[in-house]
């Protein structure tokens, strides 16, 4: 069999890979908000807590998170199925990275914008929703999309705990044939083929927002 013939079989894992990535990203994106807020809180203890969380997420490999959740929790009689464990693990990781991305977005809004909002007597809620958030998005969006693509690739580690994603299907195909090289190259191609439209969509969205506003430097 040649390269292209493997692609339809591998494609049956695309739904799982995408679902795993999208769910972890969505949960992570929500949980990242309180983490980002705690990270820039007035209270030192909250800042340290959020900072510690982010460091842990960055300091422990994804596969170790999945192992602790999938195998480790068994010790306490908690049995997660592999997909759930993978979603939780990747969501925990996403929350940490996305919190840093949000923070980069907020920090990119110049101090003068906060001052102008204060001088105009806007409440802190209005300042956030009408002034800061719309400007932060232009920084956050491209970073978040790049992170999504990274997460898509990282989600391959879920195959190690048995999630039926693209990589798992490639592994089981290769066990039944002598054509491992072609199969894994095809699997790699499938990941590339999914990432490319997402990257294109991301840069299109970024350009659109930037265009809607005119140039960035205007203050």
């Amino acid at each position: 069999m040649n390269f292209l013939e493997y692609i339809p079989t591998l494609a049956s894992g695309i739904a799982t890979t995408l679902a795993l990535t999208a769910l972890s990203f969505a949960f992570g994106a929500v949980f990242a908000l309180p983490v980002a807020m705690a990270r820039s809180s007035r209270f030192r203890s909250l800042r340290l807590l959020a900072g510690g969380y982010i460091e842990l997420v960055r300091g422990i490999p994804p596969i170790a998170w999945l192992f602790v959740l999938f195998f480790g929790l068994n010790q306490f009689g908690i049995r997660l199925n592999s997909f759930t464990a993978a979603v939780i693990g990747l969501a925990i990781i996403s929350a940490g990275y996305l919190a840093e991305i949000y923070r980069a977005g907020f920090n990119a809004v110049p101090a003068g914008q906060h001052e102008a909002a204060s001088a105009l007597s806007l409440s802190s809620r209005t300042t956030f929703s009408s002034v800061v958030a719309p400007q932060a998005i232009i920084t956050v969006l491209p970073l978040a999309i790049a992170f999504f693509i990274g997460l898509l690739k990282d989600s391959a580690v879920a195959s190690v705990i048995g999630v039926q994603d693209i990589t798992t299907i490639a592994v089981s195909l290769s066990k039944r044939s002598l054509d491992s090289l072609t199969i894994f190259l095809a699997a790699g191609a499938v990941y590339l083929l999914i990432s490319i439209p997402i990257a294109i969509f991301g840069s299109w969205l970024g350009n659109r927002i930037a265009q809607k506003w005119g140039a960035r430097h205007a203050r």
């Binding site: 842990l56 300091g59 596969i63 192992f67 195998f71 068994n74 580690v157 490639a170 894994f184």
Partner: protein
């Protein structure tokens, strides 16, 4: 849980950690020169070289590192290129490291003041000397913090070698856990060991980066 049991487990994990560190070292030995080659290719005046480099880099980055690992370990024997598990992991992760770090190295090279190249040429240095003796040493200073960052990420990525049965830290922990059924305790212990090395190292990288960005006055 008695503390001395933990100590025994900890001691049991140490050979795994050692192997993870060795794997990191070997992948860096492969990946750093590769990243430098990619970086020069990305900035080449020859369009063909540039395009080929971009393609190789983008493909290596676009494929999950785990799949690269499988390509090397399970795939290459098909073309009569059999590497053992440890070396397969080093090659696959080294390729991935080279691809990811090339952009950082490229921007480091670009950050060297153009006057340095002009001065080298004015002094009659040959092209190779200009690059290796003038530009690269200065660029390396600039790229040390981001490269350290990538090295930390790839130290963690050595855990992927579990999938091809390299007895590194995570594999060791998993084996030990199956013997004791203390999955959570032992796997968490491994996670904490990764963090205990990665976090101080990344704080050090931040420190280096901050020191660099401060103006020299």
């Amino acid at each position: 849980m008695p503390a001395d049991t933990w100590l025994i487990w900890f001691a049991d994990l140490m050979p795994g950690l050692l192997l993870s560190l060795q794997l990191t070292a070997v992948l860096l030995v492969i990946g750093l020169p590769l990243g430098t080659v990619f970086a020069t290719g990305l900035g080449s005046r020859n369009r063909a070289i540039r395009y080929v480099t971009v393609t190789v880099v983008e493909i290596s980055r676009g494929i999950p590192a785990l799949v690269l690992l499988y390509i090397v370990y399970f795939g290459l024997p098909q073309v009569s290129l059999s590497l053992d598990a440890f070396f397969s992991a080093s090659v696959a992760l080294g390729l991935s490291f080279g691809a990811y770090s090339s952009a950082a190295i490229r921007s480091g090279i670009d950050a060297v003041h153009p006057g340095q190249r002009e001065a080298s040429r004015a002094l009659g240095l040959r092209h190779g000397d200009e690059f290796f003796r003038v530009v690269l040493p200065q660029a390396m200073k600039i790229v040390t913090p981001p490269l350290l960052g990538w090295a930390i990420i790839y130290f963690q990525a050595t855990s992927l070698a579990f999938a091809i049965a390299v007895p590194e830290l995570l594999s060791r922990a998993y084996t030990l856990a199956t013997q004791n059924f203390q999955y959570f305790t032992i796997l968490s212990m491994a996670a904490v060991i990764y963090a205990a090395i990665s976090i101080p190292a990344s704080l050090f990288a931040d420190y280096l980066a901050n020191r660099r960005s401060r103006p020299a006055t």
